[in-house]
């Protein structure tokens, strides 16, 4: 037990570069596998949470643009959504990495200030960018569907109160759209967290062996020729992560639906399984 605490101390934050430098090489204990894979989970949470947060705002803008009647707004949004929903995330990672590597090494001169670009090829920035754009496209489609399914009566009621423009959007359209889209958005959030496992499997290199949970799991599976321990551990961690997400999104869902009689009951999560 005390040995495991020592392992936790050595490797608990290994994924972000704190603690023991060298990874264990032989005689892997179960504790080491749990701790290192768990420490890799920090990256999954980092990518998932930040991409979800930034992507949420972008997705709302995109959904409004796609629902707009103005072709100069609608067409770019439609193309953006098609581009990111129609191609594999895996390929998007590759393209982003190759494109970011082509940026000039020395940095770009903007009005006399040299902007460093080398950090863009690192996973924490480059992969995050791809994930943000990707989840924005998927969520925008969900929000767009919700915007189209707004009950006519609510819009008419808003009109009757004399609400227009931004006020109408903020007080009627947006809350209702969120309420309608929330179950599907929960699903998207879960898939986004699952997609974060691709980051270190695509071309973004794991700097100083600081990788995500799947990176460490495959390290152990490769070293021990035994897939029956490491992969189930990642799977277990992800099930826990999924449960946490469902819990968090359930709280938001209850708040969004609090004015509806009978809807406040426990949210029954029906996973769509499919992104």
């Amino acid at each position: 037990m005390s040995q495991c605490l020592q392992t936790l101390h050595d490797y608990g934050l290994r994924a972000i570069g704190i603690g023991e430098r060298l990874l264990p090489r032989t005689d892997f204990t179960l504790c080491e596998q749990f701790v290192l894979i768990g420490s890799g989970l920090i990256w999954n949470v980092y990518f998932g949470a930040l991409a979800l947060f930034i992507g949420f705002f972008l997705a709302n803008a995109l959904a409004v643009a796609k629902a707009s009647s103005h072709p100069w707004l609608r067409k770019p949004a439609e193309w953006f959504i098609f581009l990111f929903r129609g191609s594999p995330l895996f390929i998007q990672f590759f393209i982003a990495y190759e494109a970011l590597v082509q940026l000039p090494r020395a940095g770009i001169d903007i009005f006399g200030i040299t902007v460093q670009t080398s950090w863009m090829t690192r996973a924490w920035a480059g992969a995050l960018l791809v994930l943000v754009l990707n989840t924005a496209a998927y969520s925008a489609e969900i929000f767009y569907g919700a915007l189209r399914n707004l009950p006519k009566g609510e819009l008419e009621a808003a009109d009757a109160y004399g609400m227009t423009g931004w006020t109408r959007y903020r007080r009627v359209v947006w809350p209702t759209a969120m309420r309608l889209a929330w179950p599907a958005y929960t699903n998207e959030a879960i898939f986004l967290f699952h997609a974060t496992t691709l980051v270190f499997f695509s071309s973004f290199p794991a700097f100083q062996q600081q990788g995500d949970s799947l990176y460490y799991a495959s390290y152990f599976a490769d070293k021990t020729f035994n897939p029956f321990v490491a992969y189930p551990i990642v799977a277990g961690y992800f099930i826990l992560l999924t449960l946490c997400l469902i819990l968090l999104f359930g709280i938001v869902n209850r708040r969004l639906n609090r004015h509806l009689p009978g809807a406040v009951r426990k949210i029954r999560y029906r996973p769509n399984l499919i992104r």
């Binding site: 191609s87 590759f94 393209i95 879960i190 099930i239």
Partner: protein, 292 residues
């Protein structure tokens, strides 16, 4: 390919590009698009079959079979699919070799020696003496099984939902006519469920298309492999030296995938219209009311 390409060093501009794009390696690259399409063509029916079995099993009256079906369908919930793609091929490979080792090898030598999984050469799969294409196709075979298992579980969920969506009254009517449970399934349930299953299956097909680059992770020489291979910077030691062109190769692959998903979407729109005809659903009702 062309006679003029014999000495690429002398070529310029468009002629160089033409020769470059028809070199032997590029032919393999174009063939690998076939690998991807082949994988889709094999995996989709197998996964549908697995899904069908899973859905029927989770509706079964025999408890162990039902438990198996429920476990199978719920296995993909909450766990990223790439974990299964990494896990299933290794696990299957070891299972096959372990079984062969039991038959062909000396039983006194343990298979698992510390951190190593060791089987005697006779039990290796594929045998170390077999040709390169056997190794390749064994890899593809494992990949197909992994894809089929994971997407079968997805499909089982979709089909299970579709089977539950068939109006109960129809099944009860069939029973009232004296059909046995098996007849009800075959004559009413299965023909009726497709229209409910189609949106889910169409989505699944899209996901399957977008999951094919993961073949690269499984070590198959697919389009991603060749794009990295061909696109990487080539020194003048090669017949066609060029700087790092991987970005352009990946953009080509991107266009391929966009075309695939766009075409599939068109195709499913047409099928959806056909399957909705005569159904007791909103779309079917709209078609009935539409002026002929």
């Amino acid at each position: 390919m062309f006679a003029t390409c014999a000495d690429p060093k002398t070529l310029e501009g468009l002629a160089w590009l033409l020769c470059y794009l028809t070199s032997g390696k590029h032919m393999l690259f174009y063939l690998s698009f076939g690998t991807v399409i082949l994988l889709l063509a094999i995996t989709a029916p197998v996964a549908l079959l697995f899904g069908f079995g899973g859905a029927l099993a989770s509706r079964s009256r025999i408890a162990p079979l039902r438990w198996f079906g429920k476990t199978y369908t719920s296995m993909v919930r909450g766990v990223p699919d790439i974990i299964f793609f990494l896990f299933v091929p290794i696990a299957l490979d070891q299972a096959f070799e372990w079984m062969r080792a039991k038959v062909y090898c000396d039983p006194s030598v343990p298979i698992r020696q510390g951190n190593d999984f060791v089987v005697c050469p006779a039990a290796k799969l594929p045998l170390s003496s077999s040709a390169e294409w056997v190794h390749q196709s064994y890899g593809v075979f494992l990949a197909v099984i992994a894809f089929a298992i994971v997407f079968g579980a997805f499909a089982a969920n979709v089909l299970y939902g579709a089977m539950n969506a068939v109006p109960k009254a129809q099944l009860e009517t069939a029973e009232a006519y004296g059909m046995s449970p098996r007849q009800v399934s075959r004559r009413i349930l299965i023909p009726q469920m497709w229209t409910y299953a189609l949106p889910g299956l169409a989505n699944l097909w899209m996901i399957l298309i977008k999951a094919t680059p993961l073949l690269f992770v499984l070590g198959v020489e697919d389009i991603v492999y060749w794009a990295r291979e061909l696109g990487g910077a080539k020194t003048s030691a090669y017949s066609y030296p060029h700087p790092d062109w991987r970005l352009y190769y990946f953009l080509g692959i991107l266009v391929f995938y966009l075309l695939m998903t766009w075409g599939s979407e068109r195709f499913f729109d047409r099928i959806r219209a056909r399957l909705s005809a005569g159904q007791a659903t909103m779309a079917g009702e709209a078609m009935r009311k539409a002026p002929q």
